[in-house]
Amino acid sequence: MARMKFLCDADRCIECQACVTACKNEHEVPWGINRRRVVTINDGLPGERSVSMACMHCTDAPCAEVCPVACFYTTDDGVVLHNKDTCIGCGYCSYACPFGAPQYPQTANFGTRGKMDKCTYCSGGPEPDMSQAEYVKYGANRLAEGKLPLCAEMCSTKALLAGDGDIIADIYRERVVTRGYGSGAWGWRTAYGDTVTV
């Protein structure tokens, strides 16, 4: 089984936000919820870089550690998913996540949090694959269709890579060697304990 990961090659990202749009469209994500976002570091300064960030599907995910109702689970592909039927919207995962992935719809007065929503690595939730119930709660299940996450698939500069961690690390490594520089695999050390060394 593959160990699915995301890697954003910031030296290629042009901050076009297409990954954000693709994600919202593919999963019919409600207004105000951003499963993926693009953050620009050193904005306006020489050498600024943009990084597309979503759930990194961490090894030993901290969200799962703090969840009071244990609604998180890791699939055989290493994707961290959660059960919205169990989620109580307490918000703890948003404080545990190093990447700001968990999102909440406002459901009631005083900004009461609804059930948490986050990137599913385009692989749905606990419901049967590609079922209507799964689509309504979590969006499309592209992994079950044999496809990779749409954000990475349609990235125009191929900055955002998705796939088996070893393979995308090799691709990134080759790029860094060829062009002679790289700003690093953003978030990898935090999410997986080790970054991509060249």
Partner: protein, 332 residues
């Protein structure tokens, strides 16, 4: 040297640099000098740094890109507090069981007199029971958030446990308000009786007579043990209220790290106060004969009162006597 030859030298120097200079610049690739994750973390102060930038969406908080310190809080909340909370409860229950097995139920040594004396009026009992009932629900639902996943989840299954916890969360959020209101009532009603004084020293020296039969140190309305409970509840309750409000309104709490701090303090106070209250419930019910009446009917047996609150009984008798004297003495 003539003026002309100077000019030629100067021009040739300028030209020479002019030819070399662009070549030097051309070797610098501007895209190479970009930010680098490892260098950035080091520059910002190691692993506890937070890397953030600009986002184009209205949620400015989304500009925080990586904050590795959140994992430290996750470990603290998910493991340390989990273990600590379990041991706080189990430890206190075990301690009380041992105490009960050795000391047994503390009886009224001189037997029940049959005569009663009013200890807590209805408003004191109302405040106490509002505080007590909300605290118990708050403690159970709060404890459920910390240890429910390893204690209740295996019994009820994920679906039922999720539903239970969702209602528990709502109960916790809303019952916090009557808890705080009754906490204020308790302070107003009893703070005057709970100022530590010299009598408490004797009580503490004799361990309140809890350990030995027949030992009854003097006490006013509240003995040193009850004063301890009072201040633990008032200070702990105030701490829980403040940190709880900050957790309910995260925007008021400030940054993520501030919220995490409030959560840890909230859980620590809750664990300590729960353990203290378990002991309080024990001594007020099965642990001591005649104690429950104080908060049940409000009327306690006179012999119980004399043994545990001798000075208070004298005060009450004196007041009664004064009142009756005033009534029976005819106006001149």
């Amino acid at each position: 040297m003539t003026y002309l030859s100077r000019l030629i030298v100067a021009l040739s120097v300028v030209m020479a640099f002019g030819l070399i200079a662009p070549q030097v610049q051309a070797q610098v690739n501007p895209t190479q000098s970009s930010v680098n994750e490892d260098a950035m973390f080091q520059a910002l102060g190691g692993d506890s740094a937070v890397v953030s930038g600009r986002v184009t969406i209205p949620d400015r908080g989304a500009g925080t890109l990586i904050s590795p310190d959140n994992k430290a809080w996750a470990a603290l909340q998910g493991r340390t507090l989990h273990t600590l909370s379990i041991w706080a409860v189990i430890g206190m229950v075990a301690l009380l069981t041992v105490f009960y097995l050795i000391r047994g139920k503390i009886r009224v040594d001189s037997g029940l007199s049959g005569r009663t004396i009013l200890r807590f009026n209805w408003i004191e009992r109302f405040a106490h029971w509002t505080l007590a009932s909300t605290f118990i629900i708050l403690a159970l639902t709060g404890l459920n958030l910390i240890i429910g996943k390893s204690v209740i989840l295996p019994i009820f299954g994920e679906a039922a446990f999720g539903t239970l916890s969702a209602y528990g969360k709502i109960a916790h959020n809303y019952l916090a308000w009557p808890f705080m209101a009754s906490l204020v009532m308790i302070v107003l009603l009893w703070i005057i009786h709970n100022i530590p004084d010299k009598v408490d020293l004797v009580w503490i020296k004799q361990a309140g007579g809890l350990l030995k039969k027949g030992v009854h140190p003097p006490a006013r309305k509240f003995n040193a043990g009850q004063k301890f409970i009072f201040w633990a509840v008032v200070i702990g309750g105030a701490g829980l209220s403040y940190t709880g409000i900050m957790m309910l309104f995260p925007a008021e709490a400030g940054a993520q790290a501030d919220w995490q701090f409030y959560q840890i303090v909230h859980a620590l106070i809750a664990a300590a106060l729960s353990a203290i209250v378990i002991a309080h419930i024990y001594i007020g019910s099965v642990g001591m004969e005649g104690a429950f009446d104080a908060m049940g009917s409000g009327e306690v047996d006179e012999n119980w009162a004399k043994e545990h609150h001798s000075l208070w009984v004298e005060e009450v008798k004196a007041t009664q006597k004064r009142n009756t004297t005033q009534v029976t003495t005819p106006a001149e």
